[in-house]
Amino acid sequence: MADLKALYQEVILDHNKKPRNYGKLSPSTHHAEGHNPLCGDHISVTLNLSGNLADVKIEAIGFEGEACAVCKSSASMMTVAVKGKTRDEAETLTQDFLAMATGKMDMNAPNNMGRLAVFAGVKDLPTRVKCAILPWHTLHAAFNSVLEVSTEADADPMHTS
């Protein structure tokens, strides 16, 4: 069992209290809403993308919502991690984050998680994995401007792992 208190102390002291890029971009080029029906969490991600096809870039990103500390900190750290990146880079990071949170990444091998690695511990807390990955699913949905995503369906780590 991960030391949950340590995870909390690390992320809560920072991102839960002072979430970065908090709010809705207006205007925005893309946005999506994400829900976790299990706990009622709800967040929105808004994006301003520039460029075309090959090098679409995240100029600005905002998130907002009612969510637990794990979800909110994950969202906040996500916005910091992907701002200024290309869509491809952000999508790769998303895949890697999902792999890490669901325990499919070897954390001893070199990886690109950086500060996001604090979330590796949620893999031992199946009910909390959904909280950590909701922002990332919502980001992915925003790229495609799929307007609603839910962590209960295909994104459910209990069913994909």
Partner: protein, 415 residues
């Protein structure tokens, strides 16, 4: 008895009772398990576990089918269990007890068997804000199908039903009332006897969802005069997959069957099928025989302790926990009805319930967090979710202390 009086009962020998529950010896995260999620499901004593094993090792066969020894034994034990359930709620006849998979199925049975036959377009069904989704959704399905309408009794800030509004909702179109006996989200004990009398004076039948009441107070369906009463075995120390619907014989006889199959018929030809008598008309197919017998054993177990003593002990846990939480700055109890069962929904300032649940779990304390399948209640208090501690007779004052310490730890982490 909708307003139980808590007699100063002889103190329960909690340590002896706890010894009956093997699971209570578990450690979680290297801490003794403090199980405070009894409203979701309670734990099973060794006596019930043993009964399940005895049935399966020496008494099992299909019931109501064959003349051989085991089938007769299993049938006998199954029907003995039915009579145990009958006496537990003081039903007049054993044929008024239908085994179902739980409260949810019991309510769905009434919706299909009674609602679809007797409730028509324009008719009204009265429900309350305190209902569990299982006493909302079936009626919405019925309304969608028939064009009937749902009217909702609101609650006040304490979480008590507004009885004046309840009474004002009745009119000539009112055809049915569904009310939860004890709210699983807030613990409010509703004045169901009074509500039933009011409905009956207008010729309207009442279903009582007793999922949270049957485990915690003594229920007398004849005294309540309810038309239907439902509960689940797994919330009263029995197995999952079993529960019960009580219905007055006159209603059950008038109702249409809900599932078709074996055991629910007297004769079948492709031209015409004659349904069996109650309760068998509603028990199509092979039922969970072992679970039904286990539920009977669980009721025997609870009755040896005594429902009044159970209610008294749980009430002292509730009072002790309530007083301590009320003294904690930054913690708020949601649901402060005068007449309350041992359920405490609470919120901690600045901390999401999901985080509370995870951090309490680190301390070995099991509480439920979420909307408790009662989203209308959450909406009423404008919260997405709460944390809920729910006590059973095997909980101790020391476990209340562990909860309080756990809440302090959560506050420290978030300080």
């Amino acid at each position: 008895m909708n307003a139980p009086t808590f007699k100063p009962a002889a103190v329960l020998d909690i340590e002896r009772i706890r010894a009956d529950f093997p699971i209570l010896k578990l450690e979680v995260n290297n801490k003794p398990l403090v199980y405070l999620d009894n409203a979701a499901s309670s734990q099973m004593p060794q006596q019930v576990i043993d009964r399940l094993v005895r049935y399966q090792t020496s008494q099992h066969a299909n019931i109501h089918r064959a003349v051989h020894y085991l089938s007769e034994t299993a049938t006998h034990e199954y029907e003995v269990a039915r009579r145990t359930l009958q006496k537990f709620i003081n039903a007049k006849e054993d044929r008024e007890i239908i085994f179902t998979s739980g409260t949810t199925e019991a309510i769905n049975l009434v919706m299909h068997g009674y609602g679809r036959k007797f409730i028509k377009a324009g008719d009204e069904i009265i429900l309350t804000t305190l209902e569990h989704h299982s006493n909302i959704v079936p009626w919405q399905m019925l309304c969608e199908e028939t064009g009937a309408k749902i009217r909702v009794v609101p609650i006040n800030d304490a979480g008590e039903l507004d009885i004046a509004v309840y009474e004002s909702l009745f009119n000539e179109r009112t055809k049915f009332v569904g009310v939860v006996h004890i709210s699983n989200a807030l613990g409010t004990i509703n004045p169901v006897k009074q509500m039933i009398a009011f409905a009956h004076a207008r010729g309207v039948p009442v279903l009582v969802d007793g999922a949270q009441a049957a485990p915690h107070l003594s229920v007398d369906v004849q005294d309540l005069d309810c038309d239907f009463y439902a509960y689940s075995g797994h919330k009263l120390c029995g197995p999952t997959g079993i529960g019960m619907l009580y219905g007055k014989a006159k209603h059950l006889e008038a109702m249409q069957p809900y599932k078709g199959g074996g055991d629910m018929i007297l004769s079948v030809t492709f031209e015409k099928t004659t349904y069996n008598t109650i309760p068998f008309k509603f028990e199509a197919g092979t039922p969970p025989i072992m679970a039904a017998i286990g539920l009977g054993a669980a009721i025997d177990y609870l009755q040896t302790i005594g429902m009044d003593k159970i209610a008294a002990h749980e009430h002292s846990l509730l009072e002790y926990a309530t007083a301590q939480i009320n003294d904690m700055p930054g913690v708020r109890i949601i649901g402060t009805a005068k007449n309350k069962a041992s359920v405490i929904s609470f919120a901690i300032d600045g901390v999401h319930p999901h985080d509370i649940g995870s951090l309490l779990n680190q301390e070995g304390v099991a509480v439920r967090t979420g909307h408790h399948c009662a989203q209308p209640v959450m909406d009423r208090y404008r919260v997405p979710a709460t944390s809920r501690a729910s006590f059973a007779f095997y909980n101790t004052m020391a476990e209340v202390d562990a909860l309080i310490t756990g809440i302090r730890t959560v506050q420290q982490v978030f300080a």
